[in-house]
């Protein structure tokens, strides 16, 4: 039976696994495993070893990611196996209390408990998410489940002389598990409880054999360090200087800093409102914050802890898994995004304060919408009561499972002290506590069967057990009917293809460099470089890392076919703490000019030919040994070459950060021979001083010496979109497009819209039309709903005398805007403000769609919606 649950889980995860890399950290972990490169702190060396073994099973590099994903699927199935064993072990013990031999109904009950609990967890949202991608969470869940089971095993045998081996094994796996994820350690406190409950026996034994205890402790310590020694992989591989080597932990002290995740800074346990950077976000969440002596009061800290950290960032996730989830959209507390729901209309209406019967179709059809009517929660609560009422042994068990539940749930909340505005949902960190709850769901089955047999007055105990089991089995079956469609990642190649598209945007000559910023426009590129060997003549340079000295070191090394980046600074020039930022002081401009006029010869010697030329500013000012000289004495920097003079305006900018200085340094040495690109997903704050010198060529813009504002290179853009890009299987019917994938697809649509409009401006209606066809073929609206970028397509259709197709787009957008706007009006006034952003977006979409309808005289459509728009 245990292996049956393993098989079910393995098949389910095998069918829904992503066939290539997934977003966020997954591409990085695949590179770590396949090529033993060094990922982000604190590293996962043991994961790397196991993933490496699995990657060897791939027949070619494009299969590597799938193999590592399958590792997660198998480990998750293994976790389910241990969950089954744990539940049946616990229930069997509680059943044995009352009888000494098992009868058939009891056997059915025990097995049914295991099956229901294990399947409920198999099909739960958060666990499934990590089971089908290359992350460490599946592995850490597996180790946690195994350790917890080992602890119970040891408890069982604690009195026998061979029980020591279980303790030694636990110590060893503890050491190993640090090489996967620290989360695994959180099940150890449960062991303390076990010892506590066994105290009388243990103390007696230990008193008899003190020498044995010393020997055992030493063995455990030794085995712990043997397990921990997997960090050798990190140390050795960092010294090989692979292209990806985060934080470069080459020596023991740097490895120590790497392990303690120093890069991420220290988070205090108190106050709960601590991050200056998030001052505004705290206020957005809490409303007015009461301040005393310049600090938020204790009451406000408590309010934030309870309302945000505990309630929103923990219980919401818990309830997603066992009650229901509204949709897969990242939520910041708005009525429309990522809440927990029950699926029972009148309760949800109270919870959300809106009319759920009028939901816009975008939300109603969201695959992430899963409702369980709270059944798994109810079953779990019944399980808790059942366990509690099983005498002393039951209460002991309850303590142990509760400790696991709290340590892997609320304790993490206390430790993390999260700030508002997290960039993604964090439910994956709490899988351990959902695991503990699944144990109780299993026990709920026993409670149901017991109630049934009492009703039947024990006349037909077998029938009661069979009926009860079947009823409870319906709960996980109902769960999978909801969760399958939003966890089925089969056929999805978006992460790989979109990463590849960034690289394919870059021109083929001159070893281009692309500057990126976020996780999802960096790690997929690394994956393509390192694993699939795509465009190894190019280099990705992440601006966030470029602020650190170790990353600049790496950029100065060649990687594959990409030569070193054009950086002439020595390591001492950019060492940590040096030139972290340099002030821009336009007030010095006058002085400098006066100096040049009065002493032309000395000035040339000291400041170079043109004192405001980028090269001269860097070498004579920024790199000056005198600290008061380390500034930029102008707000208008020139870069002269035979391609003309580029004037970079730094107006209004108080300083340049180290990464910005590095970009300028590269610009000054690239001499327009080596193309520099910025990713379109950089965000407007980054490298804003290059804004007027960019040429859009696709997902990246080339930095050009022209000063004419943003340009579009139509021919290159057309070639990229039509011939060089791939679209990740988004044309496949029924493919699962989650919010992150959708956002990246929208980025593609945005540049396609720009391309269509530019072609239309040039009168090239024919090619514009073929771009529209490409869009509709590769990203049909059933998979990626249109946004206002699609209005470019509508314009193109109207101009090509295809009014019907234009109308489809315009009226579709108008209908969805209207659905959204009228639903937002049903939200209770006190909560409506949170939906202001959605409202603005859809109002804007409506306005633009109406403008297109008016421009091309589509009177029927226009008349239908203009009234509603004017009222909104």
């Amino acid at each position: 039976m245990a292996w049956l649950t393993f098989a079910i889980a393995a098949v389910v995860y095998g069918l829904t696994v992503e066939p290539t890399a997934s977003l966020w950290d997954c591409p990085e972990f695949i590179v770590c495993g396949y090529k033993l490169e060094v990922g982000h702190p604190p590293g996962a060396p043991f994961f790397m070893l196991v993933a490496n073994l699995f990657s060897q099973l791939a027949s070619n590099p494009s299969q590597v990611a799938l193999m590592v994903n399958l590792l997660s699927a198998l480990l998750s199935a293994g976790c389910i196996l241990f969950l089954f064993l744990t539940i049946t072990h616990l229930v069997r013990k509680l059943t044995l209390l009352f009888t000494h031999h098992f009868s058939l109904p009891q056997v059915i009950t025990i097995e049914a408990c295991g099956l229901v609990g294990a399947l409920a967890y198999t099909f739960s949202d958060t666990f499934w998410f990590s089971a089908v991608e290359a992350e460490v969470y599946a592995f850490s869940s597996f180790l946690t489940a195994m350790m917890f089971w080992l602890i119970l095993k040891w408890e069982d045998e604690a009195d026998s002389p061979r029980s020591d081996r279980w303790i030694i094994l636990i110590a060893y796996i503890t050491g190993l598990s640090i090489g996967v994820h620290l989360l695994c350690l959180l099940c150890l406190p449960a062991m303390v409880f076990v010892v506590w409950f066994r105290k009388p026996n243990l103390i007696k034994r230990l008193a008899r054999r003190r020498r044995r205890l010393v020997k055992l402790s030493l063995t455990c310590l030794l085995m712990f360090f043997v397990g921990f020694s997997s960090y050798g992989v990190i140390l050795i591989r960092a010294n090989a200087c692979p292209p990806m080597c985060e934080n470069e932990p080459k020596t023991v002290p740097t490895l120590g800093r790497y392990l303690s995740r120093e890069q991420y800074g220290q988070t205090p346990l108190y106050p709960r409102i601590y991050s200056m950077r998030h001052a505004e976000a705290y206020e957005d969440w809490l409303g007015d914050i009461e301040i005393r002596d310049g600090e938020p009061t204790k009451a406000e800290n408590l309010r934030f802890f309870l309302s945000y950290q505990v309630n929103f960032m923990y219980w919401r996730y818990f309830l997603w898994n066992f009650v229901g989830r509204q949709n897969n959209i990242l939520g910041y507390g708005e009525v429309e995004h990522g809440n927990w729901i029950t699926g029972i209309r009148w309760i949800d209406r109270q919870l959300l304060g809106c009319d759920t019967s009028k939901l816009p179709s975008d939300l109603k059809d969201n695959k992430g919408r899963n409702v369980f009517y709270g059944l798994p929660l109810l079953l779990g609560l019944l399980g808790i009561v059942w366990q509690w009422r099983r005498g002393r042994e039951g209460r002991r068990q309850l303590w142990i499972v509760s400790l696991l539940f709290v340590m892997t749930g609320l304790a993490i909340v206390v430790y993390l002290n999260q700030t508002p505005m997290q960039p993604r949902e964090r439910d994956y960190a709490y899988v351990g506590s959902f695991y503990a709850f699944a144990i109780w769901i299993g026990m709920g089955t026993a409670a149901v069967i017991e109630t049934l047999s009492r009703k039947l007055k024990a006349r037909q105990p077998v029938a009661a057990a069979a009926v009860g089991s079947t009823i409870c089995l319906l709960v996980p079956l109902q769960m999978v009917s909801q969760t399958w469609d939003d966890h089925d990642r089969s056929g999805r190649y978006t992460c790989r293809d979109f990463g590849r598209n960034y690289l394919m945007t870059l021109q083929d000559e001159g070893h281009p460099i692309i500057f990126t910023n976020g996780d999802n426009d960096t790690f997929p590129l690394w994956y393509n470089h390192e694993v699939e060997g795509v465009r190894r003549d190019t280099r990705d340079c992440n601006l966030e890392y470029l602020q650190t000295d170790w990353y600049i070191d790496q950029m100065k090394r060649p990687a594959y076919d990409s030569p070193s980046l054009p950086i002439s600074w020595r390591h001492e020039d950019y060492r940590e703490g040096k030139r972290e930022y340099v002030l821009i002081r336009p007030e010095l401009k006058g002085e400098v000019m006066a100096f040049v006029q009065q002493h032309p010869v000395e000035a040339k010697d000291l400041l170079g030919d043109n004192p405001f030329e980028l090269k001269n500013i860097i070498s004579h000012w920024v790199l000056s040994e005198q600290e008061e000289m380390q500034c930029i004495p102008t707000d208008s920097v020139t870069v002269t070459s035979d391609k003309g003079t580029m004037v970079i305006s730094l107006k209004g900018k108080p300083y340049l950060l180290k990464n910005e200085l590095m970009v300028l340094e590269m610009l000054s040495h690239a001499d327009w021979e080596r193309p520099l690109y910025t990713s379109v997903t950089l965000g407007s704050d980054n490298l804003s001083f290059l804004r007027n010198h960019l040429v859009v060529e696709g997902l990246a813009c080339r930095v050009s010496p022209d000063n004419d504002g943003q340009q579009v290179d139509v021919e290159r853009l057309y070639d990229n979109v039509m011939h060089r890009y791939r679209y990740g299987g988004l044309s496949t019917k029924g493919i699962y497009v989650d919010e992150d994938v959708k956002r990246m697809a929208n980025t593609h649509q945005l540049i396609m819209g720009v391309l269509i409009d530019t072609l239309l401006q040039q009168g090239d209606n024919q090619r514009a039309l073929s771009v529209c066809r490409k869009w509709q073929r590769e990203m049909p609206q059933e998979n990626v709903p249109y946004t206002e970028s699609a209005l470019a397509m509508a314009r193109c259709f109207y101009l090509n005398n295809l009014p019907q197709q234009g109308d489809d787009i315009v009226s579709g957008l108008l209908r969805r805007s209207s659905e959204w706007l009228s639903w937002i009006d049903t939200i209770t006034p006190s909560r409506r403000a949170g939906s202001g952003y959605s409202r603005r977006i859809w109002l804007q979409t409506m306005e633009q769609a109406l403008a297109v309808a008016a421009q091309f005289k589509r009177t029927t459509i226009y008349q239908q919606y203009i009234h509603e728009y004017e009222q909104s």
Partner: protein
């Protein structure tokens, strides 16, 4: 600790040590990219030996 278990543990540790030795080698520098950092010896054989060692330890412990 009986001999059998101890022998297994010693063999496992030797495997791990040999794995790390094989993993070791020269790295890339500012002057040149070194393709040898991805040679089969360093990223296929070495990690497999290490992993075999780590797994064998579990066997060794359970044999006690």
């Amino acid at each position: 600790m009986n001999m059998n278990s101890r022998n297994i543990l010693i063999i496992a540790c030797i495997l791990i040590a040999v794995g790390y030795l094989l993993m070791y080698g020269p790295g890339s520098t500012e002057q040149a990219f070194n393709p040898d950092i991805f040679s089969p010896r360093r990223i296929v054989v070495a990690p497999m030996l290490c992993l075999a060692g780590y797994l064998l330890i579990v066997v060794g412990i359970l044999k006690r």
